[in-house]
Amino acid sequence: MQEQVREWLEQGKVDIFLGYKNIQGHPLPYCYTKDNLDETGNLIVGKARYSLEKMATKIAAEHPELKIGLLVRDCNQRALNVLYIWNQLRPDNIETMSVNCCPSKLKEHGDCSYLEPEKAAPLKMMIGIDNNMDVETAEEFSQEDRYKRWMYEFQKCLKCYGCRDICPVCFCKECSLEHKDLIATGSVPPEVPIFHLVRAVHMGGRCIDCGLCEDACPVDISLRLLYRKVNDIVSDVFDYNTGTSADQSPFNMLGEEVKLEPKPI
């Protein structure tokens, strides 16, 4: 892997390569360049996941012609697909090196150990929504109970905007979450449940289920489950599985015709 990256940089296949390096005992994202080829010997995969594609998006915004190499797990690849669709990155300028994925229900073996949510505490099990739940189990609660449980989760919010800031597919210059006409600003907790539901709606056809938002949430709101539900609807109604391909999203309204077509029943 290290030699391959060195080769890529030497041959000019990529101008920079975003990977990880052990710095002060922490696996941190690191930008390898051709100016310092010997550094590539320090390339590691790193157990902690960072959104390298979000960094690539920020670099590409300043340097559109730069060829960027990237270490990708499955989640990074899905995020890249979404970023291609929404014209935040150009596929021609991105070179990916696939590495082993995080352990999950889909993949038994994985290298990343920072993904699985911790076991929920008794109070959360009793009155909140367990982060480990799947959509079906969460829907088994009665409507009233479910509403109470979700409201319990939402009212914990500190409004740190961490879910948005860490999200690899959140790139809008103007964010609805900061728009005072849409959501009351200047108070904590934020306007619940609107704050979270607005974000959830915007995740439809965008969320690639990487779990970084839940990882970054200081109060453990079951965000991943919420967005999974939203994407289930997108998948049911439009037959569109976000991130699995670079096909246009049903929500992409730009272009000759609007294709907001439901899937044939």
Binding site: I16, H26, M55, L66, G162, I166, A216
Partner: protein, 135 residues
Amino acid sequence: MDFNIIPSVCSYCGCGCGVLFQVLDGRLIDTLPMKTHPVNEGKLCIKGWSLHEHVVSDKRLKSPMIRKNGELQECTWDEAIQTAADKFKSIIRDHGPDSIGVLASAKITNEENYLVQKFARAVIGTNNVDHCARL
């Protein structure tokens, strides 16, 4: 093109969350929580998430200023420190040292904060010392 990730510690409160600064072409563009940091484990509050904003803010002062004839004017550090020292002296002379209070900061180091209280107690002669992190 120059892109660096700089590990650092949040300078706001006493928790000391680990943060990563993203620096593109010498300009601080974003802050990220450090996932492996023992204090925050990949989480941050809104102040931590916005650390880069006050560094690159347009409103940030780049030189000391003195108000002359009702208007703030840029000046040298020597001039600013001399003016502050003269004013402090005259206030202490007229109203006593307890007429002055010193606000330290959570954004500076332990050692600097030690110096601040030493300055308040030994130089000015007051016990009126507090800090901004008492939120």
